[in-house]
Symmetry: C2
Subunit: 153 residues, 2 copies
C-alpha cells in the first residue's frame, strides 16, 4: 500500500485510536512516556524542516515539503495516547501536572494541532511556498500554546 | 555539517539508503539517532499489541488490530532515514557498525520489514485472527533477523 492510501486509512481510524484507554495500550507508564516523547520528536524533526523552508533558511522543495507535511499530519494523531491516566511519572519527562488535571483542555490543544496539521498538509500539496508559509504559522502557534501551557522549561 | 551538505553526502554515498526521501535531513547526528530510536519505539509499541493478540495474550479485537497494523505499516517507512552516513555516534545507541559497512544489506532488511508490514496491515484488514496470526510471524522474523545482525545486546 502506498503512503497516500495509508494516510487515508489512518485518517479514518485515528478517532478510535485516540479513544482507546491508555491502560489497554501500554504495559507500563515508562512506555507511554517514551511513546509520546518519541512520536513528538519524530514529528518535530519533520515539522522543523517545513519551518526551515517557510522561514527561508533552507531552499523550498515542493516534494520535500509535501512529504514532511504528510508525516506531520499523520504523526499529529499519535502522541496523545501516551498521556493517559497514570502516566505523569515513570520516566524523565517535562509534562506539567495540569495535563491530567484538565484533560479536556489539553485535548482541545491536541485537537487544534491535529486540525492545523491537516491544513498544513493540504497547503503543502499545492506545491507553492506561499501556501506553505501561510499554513505554517498557525500550526506552529498551536505547538507553542500547548508547550507554554503544559511543558516545563 | 549543515542540512544541505548532509543531503549531498547522502545523495552521493554509494549504495546506502538511496531511496531515502528528500525529507530525510537532520541537523546533527544526535537528532538522527533520536529519530530512528523514537520511530522504532513507537512502531514497536503498536507491533507488540498485535503480537499480544496473535499469541493469545490479549483478546483479539479486529478494529484495534487493524489500527495498530496500519500504524506499523506507516511507521515502517520512517526509521531508516535516521541511519544515514555519519550517524554511528552522537547519542547512546545500540547500532552495530556493520550498518554503515554494508548499507545495501542493511537496506535489504529494512525493505523486507516494510514489505511484511504492508502484508500484515492487509491481513489485519480481513478482520480475522487467523489472517493476523499468519502474517505476524513472518513480520516478526524480519524484526528479529535485523536486530540479530545489527543491534547490540
Amino acid at each position: 500500500m502506498n503512503v497516500k492510501a495509508l494516510a487515508m486509512v489512518t485518517a479514518l481510524s485515528a478517532g478510535a485510536l485516540l479513544s482507546m484507554p491508555a491502560s489497554a495500550q501500554f504495559a507500563k507508564p515508562e512506555d507511554a512516556i517514551k511513546y509520546r516523547q518519541g512520536s513528538l520528536f519524530v514529528l518535530g524533526q519533520h515539522f522543523s524542516r517545513l519551518g526551515g523552508m517557510a522561514q527561508g533558511k533552507i531552499p523550498f522543495d515542493a516534494k520535500a515539503a509535501q512529504e514532511n507535511a504528510d508525516v506531520v499530519a499523520y504523526m499529529a494523531k499519535l502522541p496523545w495516547a501516551g498521556f493517559g491516566p497514570g502516566t505523569e511519572k515513570g520516566a524523565p519527562n517535562k509534562s506539567k501536572p495540569d495535563i491530567w488535571l484538565e484533560p479536556e483542555k489539553f485535548k482541545e490543544h491536541a485537537d487544534k494541532f491535529e486540525a492545523e496539521s491537516a491544513k498544513l498538509a493540504a497547503a503543502a500539496k499545492t506545491g507553492t511556498l506561499e501556501a506553505l508559509k501561510a499554513a505554517f504559522g498557525p500550526t506552529a502557534n498551536t505547538c507553542k500554546s500547548c508547550h507554554d501551557a503544559y511543558r516545563s522549561k
